[in-house]
Structures are given as C-alpha cells and as structure tokens.
C-alpha cells in the first residue's frame, strides 16, 4: 500500500511534469540538459538528421564532448570528431574539445547540471550527476537525438530502492571501496529499472567528488538513476536540496554498517565479483591505471600521491594516469600532486577516458594483469580480451604499483 510520501526521484519528476506520479507511470518530461560523446554523438547526429531535425531544442542545453578517443588515434575517429565540430558550429552549441575532460566531469564542473535537474546523457554513467541531487539517466544515440530535437524524453517512473550506510569509513577506505562493496552486494542486475537513493552517515561527510564516485557505479548495478541524499552536500552555489519524504515508498531498503569495511577489489571479469582485499592480496600486476569518470578527480590523484610520496613504483610495472579534466590536471600540477606521481614513475595521459574503454592508449597485452581505478572490468574492456582487470580504489592502485602485486594501502 502506498503511504503517499515521495522519493527524491518522484519529487524531481513531479516538479518537471506538473502532476503527481507513481512508479510505473509513463511520462513525457522536459529535460534540463542533453549530452553526447564521441562514442555516441556521431550516430545521434545521423539520427537527428534522419528525423528531419533542423535545430536543437535549446542551444544552451545541448552539449557535445570529445573524450572517449582523444586525441584521435586514426583518421576514422578524427573524421567523427570533425563531424561533431561541424554540427556544434552549425547549431551554435557547446563542444568540449580534446583534453577538456571526461563528459561527466565537465558537465558538473561547468554547471551544465544542477540539483533538481533532469539530465539525459548518451553515456551509461550519466547517473553520476545523482551526486548533485539530480535525476540523470543514460540513453543510447537515437533516444539522445530525439531529446536534442524535442527537449523531452519518455520515461517510466522508476521504483526506488534505498541503500542506507551507517558508520564512518575507516581512514584509508574511500568512497570507491564502499561502492564496490555495494555493487558486490546488490550485483550487476540488482537495481535494473530502479532508482537508488543513498543515505546515511557514511555519505554525509563525503565531498562532491566522492559522491560522484558513488553515483557513478549505479550503472554497474543496472540502475536507471542513483541519487545521493543531499545531507551534507556543499556546493559553490546556493541550491534547494531535495530530500525524500519520511513516508516515501521504497521497493526495498538495504542497510549496511560500513565502519569495519576494508579496501575492496572487483575481480575479473565483472564489477560485481567483489572481494575484501585480503582475499586477493599478492596477485601480481603488470599495469596500474588511475583515471575515469569514477576516480580521475583531484582527491583520487592526491590519495595516490600520498601513498607514493618519495617512493618509486616497482620495476617492470607501468603506471598510467588520465586526469578526469583539464582543471583536475591544473590543480594537481599546482599543488605538487602531479610532480609526486611523475617522480614515482607515472605517465600522464591527455584528460579524457584514456585506456578505460580500449579504443587506444594503454591497451594491455595478453595474459597481463591490470589494476584499475575504473568502474568496469568486463572481458575485453580495455581492448584485449586476453587480459584481466581488477578494480580498486586509487590508493590501492597506487600501493599495488609500488609493490607489483595487489596491496592494501595500509601496508605500504
């Protein structure tokens, strides 16, 4: 029986459609922003033209980002980039150039998405903006084209599930360890079609960057969106936080005490094969990677630098870092983080998705083992189906680069 209260998702949707909604309702809602990348935009632009799209619904709300294959590794991709530039110019819309950063990072940094918004991105990690108390969903290229043209999208109002995490994380245990743990508990299909709400002490003290790491991996649970309760969220601007009603209806409520959580590892080939680090410690690694929309922000690079300060990574290990954005790169340069990391043996790649999706830059070799701060480790994810990818927090990746084997950062 419905108790009448509303979840955060329901409140945001109602504010957009102007009438009460309940889970399962089909709605057509206006959107506050639309974004596509160099993986999804070329097909979207083709579909937009095929739909007889003449101009985008609002020049200030449609954004293109070059991030997945930057700089372009070949003429084919260079020409897809060119296509996007031409379209952006024609339509007078914003295009983030090569090296500006990963789509999700630049949307948040440049405030294209704000609390209370409904945002549609042609990328599966669009729920990342749930960190900002926004309702954000990923779609494919044709849906995106339709939204660019109409300014609207059809959605089924999702059921919500709540994940409550009580207790404070121990020092050295990060948002990534927490979300890996939750993905392991809920599994890769645990939230399919549903909206997640994260709530509890463990989230309240988190920075925006950490909250983005949490909401980012909603995609790895199949969620439509995932919103972190705004309690404790500090932004550079004023905003109206949206909290759920006390009598809101949740399909399920999960409760965890996370005060004793140790660093977590997701073993190949799925982000939900999550184990305590003590189970995998000692596994030899060839290659360490820090970056992505999950963990390429300043606090992630700082966590790695803290582990590596004054030390050198193990001979024979390679260590790649792709900052999430140009401003992350600049900040890490200005506060000395970058120097520490480079002196420790890291190579710095152009801000963007880097090796995350296996298009270019740092593809692993056969039988090689990667430890990565990314969000996905499916077979072939980084471009070679004969390699194995372990997912971990940035501090764990750095500690493992140091020793050449999966290592708890507490022990270095």
């Amino acid at each position: 029986m419905s108790k009448g209260g509303k979840t955060i998702s329901e409140k945001i949707i109602e504010a957009h459609v102007g009438h009460p909604v309940k889970p399962g309702d089909l709605i057509i809602t206006p959107v506050d922003g639309v974004m596509a990348t160099d993986t999804t935009a070329p097909l979207a632009l083709k579909a937009f033209k095929a739909m007889n799209g003449k101009s985008v619904f609002d020049k200030d709300k449609v954004i293109l980002v070059l991030d997945h294959a930057v700089p372009p590794p070949n003429e084919r991709i260079a020409n897809l980039h060119r296509l996007m530039r031409i379209f952006a110019k024609e339509q007078e819309i914003k295009l983030f150039e090569i090296g500006e950063g990963i789509c999700h990072q630049v949307m948040v940094e440049h405030q294209y998405v704000k609390p209370g918004d409904i945002f549609i991105g042609a990328d599966s990690h669009t729920p990342t903006y749930g960190a900002l108390n926004a309702f954000a969903c990923g779609v494919g290229s044709t849906d995106l084209a339709a939204t660019m043209m109409t300014g609207k999208i059809w959605l089924k109002v999702p059921e919500s599930i709540k994940i409550v995490c009580n207790g404070k994380l121990q020092a050295g245990v990060s948002a990534k360890d927490l979300i890996l743990h939750l993905v392991g508990q809920l599994t890769i299909s645990g939230a399919t079609y549903q909206a997640i709400e994260f709530e509890g002490e463990a989230f309240e003290g988190m920075t925006l960057a950490s909250r983005m790491t949490i909401a980012n991996m909603v995609a790895e649970m199949g969620g439509k969106t995932g919103i972190v309760n705004p309690k404790g969220l500090e932004l550079d601007y004023d905003y109206e936080p949206i909290y759920p009603d006390k009598d809101a209806d949740y399909k399920k409520i999960f409760k965890f005490d996370v005060s004793n959580l140790e660093p977590q590892i997701a073993a190949p080939p799925s982000p939900d094969k999550v184990e305590n680090i003590s189970t995998t410690e000692g596994t030899k690694i060839d290659y360490a990677f820090i970056g992505t929309c999950c963990n390429g922000r300043l606090e992630d690079l700082q966590a790695a630098a803290e582990v590596l300060k004054g030390k050198r990574i193990k001979d024979g290990v390679r260590f790649m870092i792709a900052p999430a954005s140009k401003s992350t790169l600049l900040d890490a340069m200005n506060d000395g983080t970058l120097q520490t990391l480079i002196e420790a043996g890291a190579s710095i790649i152009t801000p963007g998705c880097g090796p995350c999706v296996g298009t270019h830059q740092g593809v692993p070799g056969d039988d090689e083992v990667v430890i990565s701060a990314a969000n996905r480790n499916f077979r072939g994810r980084m471009g070679n189906p004969n390699s194995n990818i372990y997912l971990a927090a940035p501090a764990t990746v750095a500690a493992s680069a140091l020793t050449g084997e999966i290592t708890n950062p507490k022990n270095v």
């Binding site: 739909m51 007889n52 897809l80 494919g140 077979r379 994810r381 189906p385």
Partner: protein
C-alpha cells in the same frame, strides 16, 4: 539456428568498444559477440535467434550493440530480461526483443515466436512462454519501424 548464451552478457562482449567508433554500420556485424563466441559472426544466418539469460546488454549505452546484432541478420533477441538502455536502444533501432522470464531453452532448439502476441514456443521441449507486454509508446515506436521514423512522422512524443 538458435544461439543460447548465459546471464549478464555485457555490451563489451556484444561489440568491443574499439569497433564502435564508426558510421559504417555494416562493419559492426564482423565483430559481433567476438569475445564471447568468436565463430558467431562467421556462422550467423539471416533469421537466426539469440536466446539469453538475465540482464542481456548490461554495461555501456552504445547503440552499436543492438545495431551489430541487427546487422548480423539476427531476427529477435529473447532473454529472461534486459538491461534498461539496451532494451530502449533495441526498440529504437527496430531490433525485436522479447523478455520472457526464466526459461530452459537449449542450444539448437527449434523456436517459433510471434512479436504481436509475445508468444514464444520452444518446439523441441514443447514449452510455451509469453513475453512481458511493452509500454504503449514502445509499441507505437516499433510499429513505425523505430524512433527515427516515429519522430519524423509525429515531430514529438505522444502518449496515446
């Protein structure tokens, strides 16, 4: 021919990211399911069927995944259930998908299906399944032949 795969077949296995950056969509079929079943793209024939377990198409939002399957000639994907973005993408590009819940369809089974009624008949095991009904707007989109044709005609979305 009916190909049967397991649970959580992700989009990286349906079409690896390295092949997605193209507008020459026919090339996608050469690599479809490459890291899962390397012989699939060589053997697949027009009208073949893919049957899978839960959460088919999880992972990335790449529309190249259902396009690659459609380009390969596969006529329908039948699964216990689908990942959300894959499901929308498939309908939008006109690849039929049927969500039938738990099943025990085996490799090589002979299958008959009807998209309108959602009925799936496993003739080999003599078992029948009924697919979950689509929301009306998806039926409208499918009937137009995909979202491009739907919007070309209607200019905007309508809830009928």
């Amino acid at each position: 021919m009916v190909y049967v795969y397991g649970n959580n077949i992700d989009t990286d296995r349906i079409i690896p990211g390295k092949y997605t950056k193209t507008l020459d969509l026919s090339t996608l079929a050469d690599h479809v399911l490459e890291d899962l079943d390397p012989s699939f793209s060589k053997n697949v024939q027009v009208g073949d069927i893919i049957v899978a377990g839960e959460n088919f198409g999880c992972g990335s939002s790449r529309e190249q995944a259902p396009i690659a399957i459609k380009q390969s000639g596969v006529s329908v994907v039948i699964a216990e259930d689908f990942a959300r973005i894959f499901f929308r993408n498939a309908i939008n590009i006109g690849l039929p998908v049927l969500e039938i819940g738990k099943h025990d369809i085996q490799i090589g089974a002979e299958i008959k299906y009807d998209l309108k009624s959602g009925e799936v008949h496993d003739l080999t095991a003599n078992k029948k399944y009924t697919a979950v009904k689509l929301p009306q707007i998806m039926i409208d989109i499918l009937e137009e032949g995909g979202l491009v044709a739907y919007l070309k005609k209607n200019k905007t979305y309508n809830l009928s």
